[in-house]
């Protein structure tokens, strides 16, 4: 059974869905909309690369690229979220004491001990 037309139709359909995401990226009133839109475009790119590989009949050449995207895609989103957090929420004066997550157990604090030490050394920063 020849599945190639099915895959090609799927590629074009995903491209049109990508266009919808792009509308949100271009028009999106807030930065959060744009971040989400670009993240979804990245996920669709991953799927599209695999589909192109299947149509070519050489998935093994393309699977590494999609793995790289799957591993690395959220770094950009994470950096953008950090940036957004920084420009929208000025930090309180005592970050350790004021903002402990209520669900965090005591053992989590031990895991975070080295990070906490570096947090306290950060306080000299003006």
């Amino acid at each position: 059974m020849n599945l190639e037309p099915f895959f090609i139709v799927m590629v074009v359909a995903i491209l049109f869905l990508m266009l919808c995401n792009l509308y949100r990226v271009v028009a999106g009133p807030t930065v959060i909309d744009r971040m989400l839109g670009v993240n979804v475009i990245g996920i669709k790119t991953t799927v599209l690369i695999v589909l192109i590989g299947i149509i070519d009949g050489r998935v093994e050449m393309f699977i590494d690229i999609t793995l790289a995207y799957a591993l690395l895609n959220f770094i950009t989103t994470l950096a953008a979220a950090r940036f957004y957090q920084r420009i929208s929420h000025p930090a309180p004066s005592e970050p350790e004491e004021s903002l402990v997550a209520p669900s965090a157990g005591p053992e989590v604090e031990e895991v975070d001990a080295p990070a906490k030490a570096s947090d306290s050394s950060r306080k000299e920063t003006p």
Partner: protein, 343 residues
């Protein structure tokens, strides 16, 4: 096959349209955060374009650099710069209109010149008649490397690749020289930078589980470059991205404790030194610079296998340099040069 050709132009038209939309949007948006994010979407689309043209190695590089590094570096820089649009300056408006006219004229000239270019994938074009057939037919027998791109990159054109590694190294040096000044005035410029709040339990857990996978995948990409797309540059970028992820999920101090500053600098220079050292070793044994056949006697293998091993060695050098340079660029750009706190 009719399906495939029909896919070709639909796919091309749609992706090119989206790329133009992304480019115009990135320029038109005023916030630098939004612009950087839209540039990320542009990078995804151009990677799709290259995948579609079967330029798999280029697409891989774009995937690694575009998804992990470039937008993060943009965002790191955008913390310390700003942009605004002056609307009530008639003289600048005039200059901008002249710029627009010049840009349109140049675009028309270049579009006119594209008619002289050969068709895409034209077998009679100069690019596919002169040197490519020799590479495609002989590369495997001369270098025992099935991926022709790797063979061309690291053997036939190894001078180019060596100086690419030097350029990457120089980029890290320049950023360091420009940004590393800890004068009092500079620190005052950074005082608006608030501290990061919260404990980020989910992020830290995710980082702990994904970073080892990422580093193993980077090593796989580096060492499997002979047989599949990938190689030193892509593997190095992915390895460096794992340290950037560590800095994003914890903080810059934490990641710099794991990968110390002087180790980064040693790796930056050491990779280039390894590359050039292999070239010099070949020269010392009476072959050409970077003629890997000279290594046959040392390694105890045939000439062909020696070239394969030489390719692997210089790829490792490129990977080390690129990895360290990516970490160094992030450390300098995201902290504004004082290495106190990153993005």
């Amino acid at each position: 096959m009719t399906w495939d050709t029909s896919l070709l132009w639909q796919f091309d038209i749609l992706i090119l349209l989206m790329m133009v939309i992304c480019a115009v949007t990135a320029l038109a948006l005023e916030g630098l955060l939004s612009s950087a994010i839209v540039t990320g979407a542009y990078s995804f689309l151009i990677c799709l374009m290259w995948t579609h043209m079967r330029a798999v190695d280029v697409a891989f590089t774009e995937a690694a650099v575009g998804a992990a590094i470039s937008t993060v570096l943009f965002l790191g820089t955008a913390q310390y710069v700003n942009r605004w649009i002056k609307k009530d300056r008639p003289r600048e408006q005039g200059i901008k209109q002249i710029t627009l006219v010049i840009a349109v004229i140049c675009a028309v000239m270049m579009l006119n010149a594209t008619r002289d270019l050969p068709e895409w994938a034209d077998p009679a074009s100069p690019a596919s008649t002169h040197l490519s057939p020799r590479y495609i037919e002989q590369a495997y027998f001369e270098t025992a490397t099935p991926n022709v791109v790797t063979a061309v990159l690291a053997d036939y054109r190894s001078y180019d690749t060596m100086f690419e590694a030097v350029v990457v190294f120089a980029a890290a040096l320049v950023v360091m020289v420009v940004l590393r000044r800890t004068s009092h005035k500079h620190r005052m410029a950074l005082h608006l930078r608030p501290k990061r709040a919260g404990r980020d339990t989910v992020l830290r857990g995710a980082a702990q589980s994904i970073i080892p996978v990422m580093q193993i995948f980077a090593l796989y990409v580096l060492f499997h470059g002979h047989y599949s797309p990938g190689g030193g540059f892509q593997g190095g970028v992915i390895f460096g991205a794992s340290f950037i992820l560590l800095a994003l999920c914890y903080n810059l101090k934490f990641s710099m404790n794991r990968f110390r500053e002087h180790a980064v600098l040693w790796c930056c220079a050491g990779g280039v030194l390894l590359y050039a050292g292999i070239g010099a070793a070949c020269l010392a044994m009476g072959w050409n610079f970077l003629g890997y056949g000279a290594l046959a006697g040392v390694l105890g293998v045939s000439d062909v296998m020696a070239r394969s091993h030489g390719i692997l060695a210089v790829e490792i050098g490129v990977g080390i340099t690129v990895m360290a340079v990516m970490v160094s660029l992030y450390n300098d750009l995201a902290s504004g040069g004082d290495l106190e706190e990153g993005l």
